[in-house]
Amino acid sequence: MMSLIKTDLVKVLKMQYLFKFKANIDVFSSLIGIQLLAVLFSFGGFYHSTHGWGMVINLQQYSANIVICFTFIWALITAITITTKPYRHYDFTFVTNRLSSSLSNILFLLTVSVLGSITAMLSSNLIKFIVYMFLDDSIVLFKQPFFDFFTGMITTSLYTFLFCSIGYLVGAFIQYHKGFSVVIPVLFMGLLIFDGMTMNSTTITGFTEFYIKESNPFYFLLKTILMSSLVLTAAISIFNHLEVER
């Protein structure tokens, strides 16, 4: 009698997690690429002009906001990508079930969210440094307490992870039925354009503001984590029924 291999979820999760880092290495190169692109865009800056006491104050504000925005989009795309057939089927070549496949994906997404946020936060320093060196001789505010950096990183990570979660759900819908691959982008882009044109925060931006305007850090934490869990649970339950058609 050949001895059968006993296995448990945690052990498999650990292997799948490590495997996904090697397998999805291109996720990181795309992160660097997209953030460098965003840094480039950041040099346009936001321009403020104020009148008062008979003088005009020109305020050129450079920030990493674009980088963070791009990181969100990257997070969304990355999450959708890893739900596609080839990526899901890698798991099924080796040892997996649908739950471990999803959980390891989520752990992977959580990790890339944190990494993406750290690099996004650091990019603000890069922007300031480049501005200081090459673009402007005005006063540049460099000061940033570590605590601010830390909270900023956590906030950005949570946002990024929320985007990942949404992407994962979107991917799950698309895998459930191909029709969603048309419906969801059209709906999303349409609403985004609608928001942009009306300069109003009704749909997607409104949804975002629900989080941004939360000033209590505890509630913010609760809101994002709850939302992510809800979205991910929905995605996991969809994937749990999907068959492998390789």
Binding site: L9, V12, M15, F19, A23, Y90, V95, E243, E245, R246
Partner: protein, 301 residues
């Protein structure tokens, strides 16, 4: 001990039946040939056993558990086919390392030895391999992982004759060294019959027979000769297959149990040629679509 047990399993794809009330079981440490024509449901069955898909009806047990969404079944089985997917970012060496991590029985010396023998280099990428090389590499993964249940779905697609022969020998040698339950699907029974202990023949999603290969080889006999004599000798016997040769000669196949040894000896003395039917041809006759022989298509015109 039964490794695979299927009871009345059916599988529908968009209202089309891929498997219909299939019932069989496979014993431990046997090499079983899963034989059937294109579209008979071989791949569907293997995917059900692997837990990739779930049956529409019926019950399937692998290692006494339901395979769908089952980590235990997944850890103890592997399905090798030409559409096994590997990450594009990993080269062959990396893939082998991953397989080694996932499959506890993985035998690295075997994997490296086979990789070297078949001239596959570790730094190459899976999606750059030719069709034959892909099959060869997937087969290496399948053998070296030494899963208690190893499923091969048409493993030799694209392999040249020499590689196929080497693969069959490698499969047998590693099976002898490390006995396990193996299911090998193919529509070329003559190529794999020497490896098999049992044959599971399916047709239109149903189990036609599940017998030791020895019994399949003994199952049928072919009778060839003059039509008049054949009619006289074989009257009231069920004919499985018939082909006319010219106008007054005929080739007929029947079950061995239909005729006694004396009857056959008598037939031979009357000038009929009696021959055993090999396992491969027997399966072809059994899985006949019921639309007559290929000649009928031409005879209509």
């Amino acid at each position: 001990m039964k490794i695979i047990e299927c009871r009345d399993i059916s599988k529908m794809y968009f209202r089309q039946k891929a498997l219909e009330q299939l019932t069989f079981s496979i014993e431990e440490n046997k090499i079983t040939g899963l034989i059937g024509r294109n579209g008979a449901g071989k791949t569907t069955l293997l995917k059900l056993i692997s837990g990739f898909i779930k049956p529409t009806a019926g019950e399937i047990k692998v290692f006494s558990e339901q395979p769908f969404n089952n980590l235990f079944v997944s850890a103890n089985s592997i399905l090798v086919d030409d559409s096994m997917s590997f990450p594009a970012a990993l080269n062959l060496g990396d893939i082998m390392d991953a397989a080694a991590a996932f499959y506890s029985n993985w035998h690295q010396p075997l994997a490296e030895g086979l990789l070297d023998y078949f001239s596959l280099e570790k730094y190459k990428y899976h999606n750059r391999l030719s069709k034959g090389q892909t099959s060869t590499f997937n087969m290496i993964i399948g053998l070296a992982s030494r899963c208690p249940l190893t499923l091969f779905d048409e493993p030799t697609i694209g392999m040249d004759a020499a590689v196929r022969k080497d693969f069959y020998r490698a499969l047998l040698k590693d099976y002898l060294a490390f006995p396990r339950t193996i299911v090998l699907s193919s529509h070329h029974l003559e190529e794999i019959e020497h490896l098999l202990e049992d044959v599971l023949l399916i047709k239109n999603g149903q189990c036609l027979l599940h017998l030791p290969i020895y019994d399949v080889k003994e199952m049928m006999i072919s009778v060839e000769g003059k039509l008049a004599i054949a009619d006289q000798v074989l009257q009231e016997k069920e004919i499985i297959y018939e082909q006319s040769i010219g106008t007054n000669h005929v080739h007929r196949v029947l079950l061995r149990e239909e005729a006694s040894v004396e009857e056959l000896q008598g037939a031979e003395r009357m000038g009929l040629k009696i021959r055993p039917v090999n396992a491969s041809d027997a399966c072809v006759y059994l899985t006949d679509k019921g639309k007559g022989v290929i000649d009928d298509v031409f005879n209509k015109n």
